[in-house]
């Protein structure tokens, strides 16, 4: 069974702090996505990474795909209250099953 473990599970920080969320698996993925979800809404796609070692930046958010395509990280610089939400990583299976495996989730709260 393919699993994606995220850490930390919960994070409460002050505005302006930096943070990193990790997404780890023993399985290889052909691509990996990061989503943010706010209460009452569906997850919203932030980024997709495809190549091992790839780094993508989205304003204050930096995403990295591990060299072996088994893990990923999300780094937020100078967090703002608007960053509050549930962060989910999702890996697209490299072979066989046509589906996405979602991570366990990281709930972030940024205090003003």
């Amino acid at each position: 069974t393919q699993l994606l473990e995220q850490s930390p599970q919960f994070l409460s920080i002050q505005e302006g702090e930096n943070l990193t969320v990790y997404c780890n698996s023993s399985s290889v993925f052909s691509s990996l996505q990061w989503y943010r979800q706010e209460p009452g809404e569906g997850p919203v796609l932030l980024v997709t990474v495809v190549t091992g070692g790839e780094v993508k930046k989205l304003k204050r958010l930096t995403f990295q795909f591990g060299d072996a395509r088994k893990d990923s990280s999300l780094h937020i610089t100078a967090a703002q209250p608007g960053d509050t939400g549930l962060y989910l990583c999702a890996g697209y299976a490299a072979s066989g099953t046509y589906k996405y495996i979602f991570g366990t989730g990281t709930r972030l709260k940024v205090l003003a």
Partner: protein, 116 residues
Amino acid sequence: SAVISQKPSRDICQRGTSLTIQCQVDSQVTMMFWYRQQPGQSLTLIATANQGSEATYESGFVIDKFPISRPNLTFSTLTVSNMSPEDSSIYLCSVDGPGTGIYEQYFGPGTRLTVT
């Protein structure tokens, strides 16, 4: 990206009844997915629905309990049958992004179901 709507947005149902959730997409898509999510937790895939074929269910989910229809390339329904309080959850549909060769999903706003 695709714009996805779901109906109803929320409902409160009595145990033993059934509820059908509709998912409408603003463009034609091949694959549609149905997920269940407990508030504040991650997503669990229920089934994958490909137009013109039977839905593929994940372990722990069966067609009798969660029948799915996929009559065309822009629409799907998920029925939660013979509901019990354990079925209280958020149900989400999603679609693959447009055919760029990079796989990513777009989600509807979800249906919040409470079973009493």
